[in-house]
Symmetry: C2
DNA sequence: GATAAAAGTTTACGCGCGTAAAGTTTTTGT
DNA sequence: ACAAAAACTTTACGCGCGTAAACTTTTATC
């Protein structure tokens, strides 16, 4: 009696559990695959037994016999970037709600690791993969091949024609709003960006900047920060110092390509004693894009343009479910871009 | 010929691959479990075949038949905190080097999720688990039971007597250095911390603060910030404003319990126009602990005490390997604390 | 209460691989 | 060159579960 109530007697397999619950193994198996597929009364009996004996099907045996598992691969380029950590968190929680098993991977900024991840993901027979690729340094061929074998939805940064769909933010929306705002309330900005952006979004933002400036009748000016890798703050800081010391082109309004660069840039401004903000006493305005989780704690707090995190992660999940229901393939590859929202803070 | 060179003909199982390589299946199986366990000549033949046919053993079938897998569970309380992202990154890479398969989980600050993670981890038959528990809100009973079933090493925050070992930083080392430094170069600090710290390290830091202050002959003063959850920057900011407006106790030297609080606190200082730093013109010095990845970009840059990330992650890995070799259990539970390093920047 | 439909039971096979046992071949040491 | 050791082959079983087929019981319908 006690031993049963304590769940002390370990159950070896579904056979044993089925015997204890008084239901046949095939029916128990059916229950675990979809609790709604069995009669309410049998379901109750199984669940009663489940409470006493805490048994769980062996996931390896289960997955071996399914063509596809309930695993969802989530791959981000760099998890130490809170932006990705945050969006991964939202997606992960949504998957769990839906009864799927999210498995999180970070390429840690390394091409080879991204390849390795896709390799092991392939042998995991996932029901779907949500992939935010490294971007420029990604091995395009490998990703393309992967996407042919495994149902994959790209997010955050797009690779043309690869994957069953793409969900992300509209870079033009970011830049048009920031440029419009800065121009309307002061002077047109110079764009502060990296020479060799890791992420394709950066290139789209540059194009958007140029086209917006021309549309507004201003001369586009770009400062290109040297540096590689994913230490954006460091690059923003070092090259920010160089920018401030050189003073190339416009120097009263700076638009950073992303918030992490701006965090470093603002740090450089502080060090040089340059008052940043939109007040009378300020000589420099700084804005950026992404609404990084830390942007509201910079000094001054950063005026930026925010991703619609919720919309994007909701759509990613929605597309994932559609993809699973469609058997892993869409007739037409679709791209879903969401507009961004201007967030006014103190820096511009 | 071409089809073979292209690896186009999909190999279904090890049987087929063994036939293609000209080696018997049991020997091929042996190879995959330990390439060094077969003769060099057979190994060469297998690897030659492997290059042409890109076959990988079915992980589910493999893991079903092993008592333990090569999976390593890594569990952190909150992955959106770059501190954990960073240490997880280091550990993950070390596992991969060693031929293990790290699987990363974040409890996202939620007790229930931590329980769920341990639950699914249990059925994954991992060779070992590296667990940084949520701390105060963890379900101690569940973790204790988990650790009895699965070989687990705790890191970052300790739960007395639970797990096969603990590896972390020495909180007394943090606080003694910061208090000593601040006192020597100016006035003794007031401690700025949360009322109900999520993490047990915070409690140890408070005790260390009190004991250090008493040892130095000063009166310990503590400001307790209200607020719950993992949004430390927000709490540091809001309660920082309250602190600055109320001016309770010492107001020229503040020691934040951790960097994330300090990031918010510095933001509050900036907003109130309070010059922070050790210069003549400054009226407030601020220091903290952890050396958060963003601490060097605060304004002013944050004087802090750094974890020895490398030592800790190396030791975690070392203990993990020992644990695996010992068959999942140590005779005696050991605790390994590493001293911290003072990092002088501009804020104090 | 008769009858069809739905759900459950029994039986059986297969998934891909680990691994043991017994026999055969190759390597090693002298 | 020869015996012993090491490595390999062949054969066979089991892991825990998905699932199909044939049959039996329960539920829904009028």
């Amino acid at each position: 009696m006690d031993a049963r109530a304590m769940g002390g007697n370990k159950i070896r397999n579904m056979e044993e559990f089925a015997a204890l619950s008084g239901i046949s193994r095939p029916t128990v198996s059916k229950y675990f695959n979809d609790p709604g597929s069995v009669r309410a009364s049998t379901r109750a009996r199984i669940e009663a037994a489940l409470e006493e004996h805490d048994y769980r099907p062996n996931i390896y045996a289960v997955n071996q016999n399914r063509r596809l598992t309930k695993n969802i691969g989530i791959v981000v380029p760099y998890l130490a970037d809170p932006f990705f950590a945050e969006i991964a968190r939202k997606i992960e929680l949504r998957c769990i709600e839906a009864g799927l098993s999210p498995i999180l991977f970070s390429a840690h900024g390394e091409k080879d690791l991204e390849v390795d991840i896709l390799d092991s993901l392939r042998s995991m027979k996932p029901a779907g993969v949500l992939l935010a690729p490294l971007g420029r340094i990604s091995d395009r061929g490998v990703i393309e091949k992967f996407c042919r074998d495994v149902p994959t939805i790209l997010f955050d940064s797009n690779l043309d024609g690869i994957g069953e769909a793409f969900v992300g933010s509209d870079n033009f929306s970011f830049v048009s709003q920031s440029v419009e705002y800065l121009t309307r309330t002061g002077n047109p900005p110079i764009l502060f960006e990296m020479v060799r952006p890791a992420n394709p979004n950066a290139n789209k933002r540059r194009k958007a900047y140029v086209s917006m400036m021309e549309r507004l009748g201003f001369d586009p000016q770009i400062f290109q920060a040297e540096g590689d890798g994913w230490g954006f703050e460091e690059i923003g800081y070092k090259e920010g110092l160089r920018f401030l010391d050189q003073k190339p082109g416009r120097t009263d309004t700076v638009l950073c390509s992303n918030d992490r660069l701006a965090i470093g840039f603002l740090s450089a401004c502080f060090e040089r004693g340059i008052p940043v903000g939109r007040g009378e006493t300020c000589t420099l305005r700084v804005a950026a894009h992404d609404d990084h989780p830390f942007s509201r704690f910079t000094c001054p707090s950063l005026t930026t343009v925010a991703h619609d995190y919720d919309q994007v992660s909701n759509k990613v999940i929605e597309m994932l479910f559609q993809l699973i229901e469609s058997g892993g393939h869409f007739e037409n590859r679709s791209e879903h871009l969401y507009p961004a929202k201007l967030v006014l803070r103190s820096s511009a």
